[in-house]
Amino acid sequence: MKTSAVTYVKHFALFAAIMGLWEVAARQEWVDSLLLPAPSKIFTALINIMFQSGLMWHHFGVTLYETVAGFLIGSVIGFVLAVLAAQFMGFKTYSTPYVIALQVTPRIALAPLIIAWFGFGISAKVVIAAVICFFPPFVNTLTGLLDYDRDRMEMFRSLRASRWQIFTQLQLPGAMPIIMAGLKTAISLALIGAIVGEFISASEGLGLLMQRFTFQLNMAASFAILVTLTLMGLILYWIMEVLDDRLVYWRHDTRLQQRATRDRRRYASLLKGVGGGPALQPAE
């Protein structure tokens, strides 16, 4: 389904209307412009921190690093633990109470403790991000690995597949869609973790900037940071979407079509000169 030009125009018109109304509301002082600055002020502040002072980029990099590193560590640990839990029932039995305890605890409450353990630097934020985001990859991987199709498993067993083959060729690919869904949740949680960590105590990062500008009652700059964070969130989201499109190609019709066409070209020589011909016409 293609989005038509008309739809784009409508989207743009709606956005412009909201911004226009907001601008007027702020200028006419319908709302306290000190608390809710006009979009034009926010835009100016954004241009300033991005290009004039360029203040933002270093902090952007710090927060992005904390998020991505935390995400990678949390996801890898979650994935590995889930694989172990799926393979060894004993492991699952004994780890379950801890996993549930960890799940029901608001893990963000661990943030001050983690800062106490790891200090005020970047590594504490990485750990906070990892702790916050670890759960969805763990649960989703475990669910995905255990939720295999019984008939497919029997098919593999009847073909004398080894445990390793069953894991790599049946369970893992079968779990990929739900694992990817877990990773998508995890990356936005990691960003939250990094920002909260910076709120608590930091010398750099977008969370710190946000706090500093708000204390200074520089609301336009605070909103500009918010826009920057939205931008970061969008970039991360987009990367995950691209990964999903590649790794779970069989859930995307266009990808399937592309791959089928590619393979037909790649193995064209094998298709030629086949004896026998079709025994049946595909009736469907």
């Binding site: 067993r157 399937l256 089928a260 004896g275 469907e284």
Partner: protein, 260 residues
């Protein structure tokens, strides 16, 4: 049976003596089944739901242990899945991340060797044999149910096994497609001289395909009777109209009725 030879006990491929399966200590799925299946024979298994047809097949496949009795293939006791036995299910059980050719190649790749162009060529040949020319690289989600089942049939044949266990393989298909697939199956099985065990709910279908029909009755699952079908290998749909055919249908039906 191989041509020009008279079947003897030495031809026995699959032999069951007092085979029983009791699940979780109390559910008697199969009780005291005795049978001899010869090389190249086509056996249909009929019976109402829950009479142990799938259980019998899974025991022969080595997927589940028998509770008591003795089950041998070519003289050796069945204790695990074997290379010469392959299974096909009611569901196609294709892997959605593999295209048709790759799905057919699953038995090859599970042998742990690298897939060669010769393997691919063979897979493509099998897909064309089962009527899927033009769909060699399509993914399961791009295929209809009937076409998926053809891929599964091609994969079954690619195992190279000469004992084929088919558990209602076309049960989910419409009648027309099912009939075509049955004819095709009959042709292929006799061509590769495989031994086949074919489970179905449909009595006419069972008789049409088989050299012998295993009639099973439920609670507990019993192999009530083995009915001979004396029609030879070359069969056309007209056969189902003959009085002899209908006599056998009635016979099977009465055995099933008596079991209730």
């Amino acid at each position: 049976m191989k041509e020009g030879r008279i079947a003897t006990m030495a031809d026995t491929t699959i032999r069951g003596e007092g085979v029983s399966k009791i699940f979780s200590g109390s559910v008697v799925a199969v009780e005291d089944a005795h049978f001899d299946i010869r090389q190249g024979e086509f056996i249909s298994i009929v019976g109402p739901s829950g009479c142990g047809k799938s259980t019998l097949l899974r025991m022969v496949a080595g997927l589940i242990d028998i509770t008591s009795g003795n089950l041998t293939i070519n003289g050796s006791v069945v204790s695990e899945p074997r290379n010469d036995v392959a299974l096909m299910f009611q569901k196609a059980t294709l892997l959605p991340w593999k295209n048709a050719m790759e799905n057919v190649l699953i038995p090859t790749s599970l042998q742990g060797r690298k897939i060669t162009d010769a393997d691919r060529k063979q897979a493509i040949d099998l897909l064309q044999l089962t009527g899927l020319s033009g769909f060699e690289f399509a993914y399961p989600d791009q295929l209809s149910g009937g076409m998926q089942q053809r891929v599964a049939l091609a994969r079954l044949l690619n195992t190279g096994s000469n004992i084929l266990l088919l558990d209602e393989p076309f049960g989910a298909l419409d009648e027309f497609t099912r009939e075509t697939m049955n004819m095709e199956l009959l042709r292929i099985v006799s061509e590769v001289k495989a031994t086949a065990l074919f489970v179905t709910h449909n009595i006419a279908e069972a008789i049409f395909l088989a050299d012998r029909v295993f009639v099973m009755t439920p609670r507990p699952g019993r192999l009530a009777r083995i009915v001979d079908v004396p029609f030879g290998k070359d069969r056309t749909p007209d056969l189902a109209q003959t009085p002899e055919f209908n006599r056998i249908v009635s016979e099977v039906r009465s055995i099933l009725g008596a079991g209730h």
